[in-house]
Amino acid sequence: MPETITVTIDRFDPQVDKTPHPATFRVPRQDGMVVADVLQYLYENDTPDLGFLWECRTRRCGTCAMRVNGRPVLTCSEPVADEMRLEPLEGLPVIRDLIVDRQELQRRLAPWAGEAHQQGVRETRILLQQGEIAHYRALSECIDCFICDSVCPALAENSSSASQFAGPRRLIRLEAQVQRRAEPLPWLVYAAQGNPSLCTRCFACTQVCPRDLRPAEAIGSLTKRLYERQELDAHKASHIRSFIHSIRSGAWLDEFRLLVDIYGVFGVVKFVPQALRMLVHGKLPRPHFGHPAQTKDIQAVLRGLENTRSS
């Protein structure tokens, strides 16, 4: 194991620099060293003007999040590597060096937090059952590190789209709110406004969450709640219903019907050029009719499922 750690940091001062420029340092290694220790060493011994943030150093505040060798992590608990490249979180404006501006994303959280109060919404809290406590506590342990938002491809598309996605951090907090209330409104209304259907289901947020809160699954849970209350985005709801219908009636997805279900008979007209291209290349999905025996089997399984539900 080398006695020194080589660390390259993207330095950036917006008042001087047009783009970030890498600077490399060597830091003496110590037992049990984490990345935050390296930054502290550099600040005290080498580069007192280095911009970085930390606060609790116990994985509770989320302030020290940044990318280490391309992976977004909390530096207060991230073990050092022999060679490291430190960069600010992606997808957020850089204030200086490793410090990002979280205000815009923070503002996304603030309106709904205050809105319920301003509207005089009476909150009915419910008693959680023993088995539910761990799940709720898990979701409510989001530390606002913004790591999930920083890797979210749907959130990144907001800047060039009319439709706006709230992002995993906000949606996981809404799911936590919904879980502990007998009356989930207005939280579900806020969730619907946050467009969970725009989530790409890529699981990047679940992969990187330092608290292992699985934001993608929380978005899935919100989707289920909105679908059941018929408050989900109309296209997404049709998409789900079409899948269910296809499986029930013919085992495999009927891609042709899927488009008609989502866009309507007249709505699919806009896909004619695309459909012609696919037809020419032998890729146009044809209406699909299920195999009777297979469909009978599936319907028997689903009947059993429905009987269990009703009993």
């Binding site: 699981f203 990047a204 289920k224 997404k236 998409h239 499986i247 085992a251 495999w252 989502i262 290349h281």
Partner: protein, 295 residues
């Protein structure tokens, strides 16, 4: 003795990406794999069903897993990443949650099936690397992909979340890169290789999805790729079938051919582009079609 696998082709390879099924069957035969196609299986319901009606997703996919098990194999081979994640997620639940396992088997009993949780769901790419081996594959290459620069595109559902998928490193995946090297091609590293293709937001906001997919294609092109290789037909739809839409939204010509992993393997094993269905692609892989047809 040929290795036997239950084969789950999924919905896209039956409909809008038939060339993927065609290439998989051709390559599997060449490698002496015996594929038992689960025609009697069912759509996994993708992310829609498991989110909106999880109990239905568990029951339907438990049936597919039980059908695979009833054929006396240990692996259900998939060719779609979203099928892979969904089947693996249900399989993991059935193996770890005794109550879910019992519930699923109660439903299966009504059609005379039982699932004993012995099946592993594995993608074609994983079977090729882990079971067959890249060294052995190299020996079967009759037409190395010399001078072909291939951008390995992983996408999401073959990598993340790693506690469900677990074959490759989600931060720095290498399986496709190593496969391209074994086939004699030149892997082209590009930043977006493990990014999402945007397929699952396509019907919610087409322009958003098309812009996103176009960005990945441009990234691969700027790094000098001749073609992009993908392990998932849904990524293929996003980036090949919808590439004209990406070009319109981005107001930019992209022309990046996207080919399926089994097609890439098939080319190196000596199949003609036509035998692998390459003429079906919306963006014609001209360098592949011309270069490999002539040999």
């Amino acid at each position: 003795m040929p290795k036997r696998y239950a084969y789950f082709q999924g919905c896209s390879a039956r409909q809008s990406c038939p060339e993927l099924n065609q290439a998989t069957l051709a390559v599997s035969k060449k490698l002496d794999w015996e594929l038992i196609t689960l025609e009697s299986g069912a759509c996994t319901g993708a992310r829609d069903l498991i989110e909106a009606q999880p109990e239905m997703a568990i029951a339907i996919n438990a049936r597919t897993l039980a059908l695979a098990e009833s054929r006396g194999v240990d692996t259900l081979m998939t060719i779609c990443s979203t099928c892979t994640i969904t089947l693996r997620q249900v399989n993991k639940l059935l193996k770890e949650d005794a109550a879910a396992f019992e519930r699923a088997n109660r439903h299966l009993a009504s059609i005379g099936l039982r699932y004993n949780a012995t099946i592993e769901v594995r993608h074609f790419l994983w079977v090729l690397i882990a079971d067959y081996g890249l060294d052995r594959l190299k020996q079967r290459v009759t037409r190395p992909l010399t001078d072909l620069s291939v951008a390995p595109y992983y996408g999401c559902h073959i990598l993340r979340p790693s506690d469900v998928l677990g074959f490759d490193d989600p931060d720095n995946p290498t399986s496709l890169h190593n496969l391209i090297l074994a086939l004699g091609g030149r892997p082209v590293d590009f930043k977006s290789k493990a990014d999402c293709c945007g397929f699952h937001m396509m019907t919610i906001d087409e322009n958003r999805a098309a812009r996103h997919a176009g960005g990945l294609l441009i990234d691969a092109k700027q790094q000098g790729a001749d073609v992009m290789a993908t392990a998932c037909p849904l990524c293929h739809i996003s980036m090949d079938s919808w590439q004209p839409k990406s070009e319109r939204v981005l107001k930019q010509r992209i022309s990046m051919p996207v080919i399926h992993v089994p097609q890439l393997v098939g080319l190196a094993l000596g199949f003609s582009p036509k035998e692998l269905g390459l003429e079906r692609h919306i963006v014609r892989p001209a360098k592949v079609m011309n270069g490999f047809a002539a040999q």
